[in-house]
């Protein structure tokens, strides 16, 4: 996962209390990290939220993986955010999400997109690993954990 998660874009404690806010914080963080042109930010936020309308990416207890393909990125980019209080993400099981992984991939690379979701899922299916992410506390600590995932 550390291959495409941008260390400087990780948010160890999200401020937002709702889905749109979380998506906005994460996408804006990727923008500040230089992952795409600033002018693309709003359109990428819209694309991720549009995808959420088709079905929440909160597919596991406590975890959401908002994602989209977008022409504004030349390669797979991603970031992570943690909300210690949890956010209602419309998750399958009705519980709040605490760990958020945002993935944006180029429109013409569906295999890269699939493999990124696989890589994220492979590590997040371990409850102990997720607990470590939730309690890491800082961006560098989170990034270090990603390298171990």
């Amino acid at each position: 996962m550390s291959d495409f998660i941008f260390r400087e874009a990780i948010i160890p404690e999200l401020k937002s209390k709702d889905k749109e806010g979380v998506v906005r914080e994460l996408v804006e963080s990727l923008s500040r990290a230089g992952c795409f042109k600033e002018s693309e930010t709003e359109d990428i936020i819209r694309a991720v939220l549009k995808r959420e309308l088709l079905g929440s990416t909160g597919i596991w207890p406590g975890i959401a993986i908002p994602h989209s393909k977008h022409p504004g990125v030349g390669k797979l980019v991603g970031t992570m955010g943690i909300s210690s209080k949890g956010v209602d993400f419309g998750s399958r099981d009705g519980t709040p999400a605490f760990v958020f992984i945002l993935i944006i991939s180029p429109v013409d690379q569906p295999v890269v997109h699939l493999r990124a979701l696989e890589a994220v899922s492979r590590v997040l299916k371990e409850p102990a690993y997720v607990q470590n992410l939730k309690s890491a506390g800082t961006g560098p600590a989170l990034f270090e954990l990603l390298g171990k995932g």
Partner: protein, 94 residues
């Protein structure tokens, strides 16, 4: 084409979606599979995954043009496998 061994059915299905077997069809697949009493597995790259678990199916990164095997075992295995094949045959936007 389905093969039958006891009450276990298998069907090889090609992934036709240009985005591969991605999250939304996986969600639809697991939700549909959950409606059947039959045990459902997806076999891909030699490994078997619980077809009723989105967490497990997220590990199936099958791209367009690849093949997976749907396996169902139980009293309503035939209905399950027919239904699940239809879900995989649907092509939708990303």
């Amino acid at each position: 084409m389905a093969t039958e061994g006891g009450n276990t059915l298998q069907r090889v299905v090609s992934i036709v979606n240009p985005n591969g077997f991605h999250m939304r069809p996986k969600s639809a697949f697991t939700e549909a599979a959950a409606k059947y009493d039959a045990e459902v597995r997806v076999i891909w790259n030699g490994a078997a995954y619980n077809g009723k678990s989105i967490m497990e199916l997220m590990l199936v990164a099958a791209p367009e043009g690849s093949e997976i095997i749907i396996e169902a075992q139980g009293p309503d295995a035939q209905d399950a496998i027919n239904h699940l094949e239809k879900i995989l045959q649907q092509v939708e936007a990303a």
